[in-house]
């Protein structure tokens, strides 16, 4: 039964590893039995012709495997794919624009010299490696969001129409915006942890362009707390995406994160030197800290004044739905 073995193996190739061996064993047993039964009924030996009939009836291996697969076998599903495509459509031209700028800057750096292809090659190399890295990161985030957003179906009868959000709902989220935010958080965290030398300032001096690393040796002490903040922000955005909207607990978490952000910035500002150009960087961080405090204040004001949409209407007064 070489044909059955080949068929079973082929089906197994399209199955998740954790069920593969079990399905293969059962399928081999059933198909062999089916062929032998047909052979008995036809009064002829179980040959390749009968096996072909049985396998043809069972279907193309990939289709047969898809009937066994417990979950949809895709990385990014139809709900997120349009957003994914939009992000790529923005990302690729943006990278191309940056590359072009680098080529132009590269040419201006060499006044009086004939145009050279070297900056073009350097920029193209940077373009492709940067693009591949970011494509990978974006795809990874979308795949994660896809799995997080796989919600349990709501049982009929338990759904309450009064929980429907208002048409102009300030707590409705943009999937595009949330995913871009997740990407930015992941990209910044990777940058500071894996490629800290890329966190730099570009200084134009006459016709010369110099790149200086921005992070000093003292910056490392803040990395654990920053990592914790990025992880919390990433998690919050995943939760909001899963819920499909802002709710009161997630709004409070957003407020707490904003306060934490202001505190971390303040600690860095008053702390020992952590950057090259420490004074200038800390002035910028002070501005960010002030912005963060203002944002936290506005979030707190909204939380205390307004009931977020999505809370059941019947918990409030029918005369004043809370907004």
């Amino acid at each position: 039964m070489d044909l059955i073995d080949r068929y079973v193996h082929e089906v197994g190739q399209h199955l998740p590893w954790n069920v593969r061996a079990d399905v293969e064993a059962e399928l081999r047993s059933l198909l062999t039995e089916s062929v032998e039964e047909r052979a008995r009924a036809a009064g002829r030996p179980a040959d390749a012709g009968l096996a072909t009939e049985v396998l043809r009836a069972f279907g193309v291996p990939k289709d047969a495997a898809s009937r066994y697969a417990p979950d949809p076998q895709y990385l990014i599903g139809p709900r997120l794919y349009p957003v994914y495509r939009t992000v790529l459509r923005i990302m690729v031209p943006a990278f191309a624009a940056v590359t072009l700028t680098l080529i132009i800057v590269g040419q201006f750096q060499r006044p009086g010299e004939p145009p050279s292809i070297a900056p073009f090659i350097r920029a193209a190399n940077g373009f492709f490696s940067g693009l591949l890295f970011n494509l990978g990161l974006v795809t990874l985030i979308f795949a994660l969001v896809e799995r997080v957003m796989r919600r349990q179906p709501v049982a009929a009868g338990t759904w309450d129409p009064s929980t429907l959000p208002a048409v102009n709902d300030p707590d409705r989220i943009s999937y595009f915006g949330r995913v871009v935010l997740l990407y930015l958080i992941a990209a910044v965290a990777l940058l500071f942890n894996v490629y800290p030398q890329w966190v730099s300032v570009v200084v134009f001096h006459n016709t010369d362009v110099q790149v200086y690393a921005l992070l000093g040796p003292g910056f490392g002490r803040y990395l654990p707390v920053l990592n914790a903040w990025w992880a919390a922000a990433f998690l919050l955005n995943l939760v909001v995406l899963r819920q499909g909207r802002w709710r009161r607990p997630t709004r409070w978490a957003e407020f707490a994160l904003e306060v934490a952000n202001a505190v971390i910035l303040a600690v860095i500002v008053v702390g020992p030197p952590a950057f090259a150009y420490d004074v200038i960087v800390k002035v910028v961080l002070q501005v960010f800290a002030v912005i963060s405090v203002i944002k936290a204040g506005m979030q707190l004001f909204r939380l205390l004044r307004r009931r977020p949409a999505g809370e059941p209407w019947h918990t409030g007064s029918p005369a004043s739905p809370g907004r």
């Binding site: 059933l30 039995e33 069972f58 066994y68």
Partner: protein, 113 residues
């Protein structure tokens, strides 16, 4: 001609959908005594319900995954076979589905005149 083929394909698809709807109930009714995939297929065929193997075998695994069937491997006639039997949850669901089917069949008989 094209229209005829389309109609035929539509009829096949709708028939398939109709049969698919009752497949779970049919399988549950036949697994009070344990059976392995091929013997269950024969059992159903003898009762007038011929199910494609490519549909039945994955369905058995799905129902087992949903806790409606129990299964165990056994070696018989020098061949390893996976035997299925309806579980307690499966019996409860079978009862509900049977009531639903009886009610639906009565209504449809009425509608069909």
């Amino acid at each position: 001609m094209v229209m005829g083929e389309t109609q035929l394909s539509l009829k096949e698809n709708l028939s398939l959908e109709l049969r698919r709807g009752v497949l779970v109930l049919a399988v549950l009714t036949q697994l009070h005594d344990e059976a392995y995939g091929y013997s269950l297929k024969k059992r159903l065929a003898e009762n007038g319900l011929d199910i494609d193997e490519g549909t039945l075998y994955p369905l058995l695994r799905r129902l087992e995954g949903q806790g409606l069937l129990d299964s165990a491997w056994r070696v018989e006639e020098s061949r390893p076979r996976r035997y299925y039997r309806i579980s307690a949850a499966g019996k409860r669901l079978e009862k509900d589905l049977a009531a639903e089917w009886t009610s639906l069949a009565r209504v449809l008989h009425g509608l069909l005149g």
